[in-house]
């Protein structure tokens, strides 16, 4: 069974190719079948493979499939090879499965769009790239997938290309993530140069053999990879692209910008955890980045009007949790949160998509309201997703995963009290903005009439995800056990906080957020408005609304200078050297030509003068 692994990326790749080339001539039904089917098969296949993997674990807990040597120069011989262990298995299963659901959703959501086949081509290419990323046996192949998903993200954000805003958002996403990728590429060079391989497992072994803990090489390598991870996972300071990425079709947001691609950074760090263990400083930085991001994004989420932007910031914030977990050494917890987040965030987006579609592509939450009754299915699914996101204690998957992270922060040797407090504050914020969203959208008075109701293709995936958003949390223990095969366990230590206290505090934090939201947006909406319009509130609101002014800052620091200098130098300043030379030559020509007066005496004078000159040189030199 395992040797069919290569089909998992290959089928979506092939279908993407077929859809890109022949899609425009295919009927939309065929496109839908091919598009979704090409994901269904790998999803099923992956489940079978997972079953095989669990029932008969391969030697060493990992299975490697080498297809061919990709590049072969001297000792640099990265292969097109797949590596399946517990980590990648979980990731791939989740990705293919969630993708499948979203594809099914998309078949209805995107129906009638002129780029129907193009959409599926991109989506399938995305799945293929994502799977490649996850299964890659070496960092170069990982990089291929990494860039591939970045590309698909770009393509899908700018999917409705006729609006230049979408194109801009897509470019921004691609470029900002590529900033991180550049760091990552340099990290790859460093790793190959120092360790002589890019095979991840060899790399980790060699690194731990060759490098001391805290060795500058390890620090540099880990930091550079972190750069890549930060970019792709929209963490500080490269998070600015993700909110804009919401310009893409909603299924895209669900799949790429919430459930899967953005967690690639988490995966990368988990995959190369050995490096981070060698570089505790960087690991701390990961934790701090995560903590800072989750707080900042939480604040920003609080101020957004666009339903998708709220969710986008919440994604940033939740990935912040995952980083946070990675940073404190709770590798398994991070992946667990990835999984639950994939379910509930995809769910939220799908439900949001239903809402948006129902309201004529209205994105502003303040023009929604009262949808609880109009769109009950959407409401309930959204509510489940929201609760999972906010961490409704005991029931939801989100609660379990987040609780685990918080507990790890408190009980890890790498954790600190400050981090834990930040994590708890994050829970309050999450709960606050989530319920703000839910209350504003689904409660209160209807503002916009509902025009379109979702069909089964859109709702069934949502139900499935809703189901998973609740039940996935109960798998905490077996999941942790399974993860332990691939990732190191938590180094327990630190504050030694008991589980009960931690869970209680987290639950209280959730409640606090819920109550504030209820009070400010449902029971006493004037208060929320007053807080937002007070002087401090206004400043903060604007500040948070604009993502802490990061875009403003980047525009001035990087974008404008580059654009300005490119525009100013359009004609290429270097060329003026040569035009100058030609001018000089022309000028010389003009002056020299003045000697050709046509006058006999003048010509004779030159002969006489020339000979006087020649004689002078001959005699005196």
């Amino acid at each position: 069974m395992l040797d069919l692994l290569w089909l998992v990326p290959a089928i979506p790749f092939a279908s993407a190719f077929v859809l890109a080339v022949f899609g425009p001539r295919m009927r939309s039904k065929a496109v839908a079948v091919l598009g979704a089917g090409a994901i269904a098969v790998p999803a099923v296949l992956m489940l079978l493979i997972a079953a095989a993997f669990v029932s008969a674990p391969p030697a060493g807990g990992a299975y490697t499939q080498v297809l061919w040597t990709w590049i072969g120069v001297g000792s640099f011989r990265p292969a097109i090879a797949f590596y399946l262990d517990a980590l990648s298995l979980v990731m791939v299963v989740v990705v293919t499965f969630v993708s499948f659901l979203i594809h099914v959703y998309s078949t209805e959501f995107m129906r009638g769009d002129e780029g129907y086949s193009r959409f599926f081509a991109y989506m399938n290419l995305f799945v293929a790239s994502m799977v490649t990323l996850l299964l890659a046996d070496n960092l170069l192949l990982l990089y291929l997938g990494w860039e591939g998903v970045g590309l698909c993200s770009y393509l899908l954000i700018g999917f409705w290309y006729q609006d230049p805003v979408n194109g801009l958002a897509g470019r921004k996403a691609f470029i900002v993530t590529r900033v991180g990728d550049t760091a990552m590429a340099v990290g790859l060079f460093l790793l190959f140069h120092s360790l002589g391989t890019l095979r991840i497992q060899d790399l980790l072994h060699t690194a731990s053999d060759q490098w001391q803990i805290g060795s500058p090489y390890a620090v540099a390598a880990a930091a550079l990879l972190l750069g890549g991870a930060v970019g792709k996972s929209a963490q500080l300071p490269l998070q600015t692209w993700l909110p804009d990425a919401m310009a893409g079709p909603t299924p895209t947001s669900a799949l790429i910008h919430a459930a899967t691609m953005v967690t690639a950074g988490v995966y990368l760090i988990a995959r190369t955890h050995g490096l981070y263990e060698l570089a505790p400083q960087v690991q701390l930085a990961v934790a701090v980045t995560g903590a800072a991001t989750l707080l900042m994004a939480g604040c920003s989420a609080l101020t957004q009007n666009d339903i998708k932007r709220v969710l986008a910031y919440s994604t940033i914030s939740q990935i912040g949790y995952m980083f946070f977990a990675l940073g404190v050494g709770a590798w398994g917890a991070a992946i667990f949160h990835f999984m639950t987040h994939a379910f509930f965030k995809a769910l939220l987006f799908l439900a949001a998509g239903v809402v948006i579609e129902a309201l004529h592509h209205e994105h502003n939450i303040f023009r929604m309201g009262g949808l609880r009754k109009e769109l009950p299915a959407a409401f309930w699914t959204f509510l489940i997703g929201g609760c999972a996101l906010a961490g409704l204690p005991l029931i939801t998957a989100g609660y379990y995963s987040k609780d685990l992270i918080l507990w790890s922060a408190a009980n890890s040797t790498a954790g600190t009290a400050g981090l834990w407090v930040a994590g708890i504050a994050g829970v309050v914020l999450t709960s606050l903005y989530t319920f703000r969203l839910i209350f504003v959208v689904f409660f209160g008075q209807p503002a916009t009439p509902v025009s379109h109701r979702p069909g089964p293709a859109m709702m069934i995936p949502a139900f499935v995800l809703a189901f998973l958003s609740i039940t996935a949390g109960f798998a905490t223990t077996p999941f942790a056990a399974f993860m332990a095969k691939a990732l190191p366990e938590l180094h327990e230590g630190g504050m030694g906080m008991s589980e009960v206290i931690n869970s209680t505090v987290a639950g209280l934090a959730f409640l606090a957020g819920l109550l504030v939201a209820w009070y400010a947006y449902l029971s006493n909406p004037a208060l929320g408005r007053a807080a937002a319009t007070s002087r401090v509130g206004r400043v903060l609101h604007r500040f948070w609304f604009s993502d802490w002014g990061m875009d403003w800052f980047y525009d001035r620091l990087f974008v404008w200078p580059v654009v300005w200098s490119a525009k100013a130098n359009k004609a290429d300043i270097v060329d003026s050297i040569y035009t100058g030379l030609t001018r000089l030559a022309a000028l010389c020509h003009r002056y020299f030509s003045l000697t050709e007066t046509g006058r006999l005496r003048w010509y004779a004078a030159w002969i006489a003068g020339g000979s006087a000159f020649a004689v002078a040189i001959a005699m005196f030199l």
């Binding site: 030509s593 050709e596 007066t597 046509g598 006058r599 006999l600 005496r601 004779a604 004078a605 006489a608």
Partner: protein, 100 residues
């Protein structure tokens, strides 16, 4: 004793006078006369050099210069006539239609 050096100097003076004539005068006839002066000075120099080495060769060359001056002058004077025929002047500065 023959004043060889002095004769060379005389040839030089006459030669440079001829140069002045060519450069300063615009009348083609005067220019041709000045050229004759230059050629004559060159011939003088040859004769002087011949005398210095007590050889007849200098004088032979003078003879050839003489012949050459004649041939050149005959063509030159034909051109003088044509110039005058076309332009009604001997001023060589009219001959500057080609330049640049």
């Amino acid at each position: 004793m023959l004043p060889i050096r002095e004769s060379f100097i005389l040839a030089g003076i006459l030669f440079t006078l001829g140069v002045i004539g060519v450069l300063a005068r615009r009348n083609l006839v005067f220019i041709l006369m000045s050229i004759e002066v230059m050629l004559n000075a060159a011939g003088l120099a040859f004769v002087v050099a011949g005398a210095q080495w007590r050889q007849p060769d200098g004088q032979v060359v003078f003879l050839f210069i003489l012949a050459m001056a004649a041939a050149e002058l005959s063509v030159g004077l034909a051109l003088v006539l044509e110039l005058y025929r076309q332009y009604k002047t001997l001023d060589t500065d009219v001959l500057s239609r080609m330049r640049g």
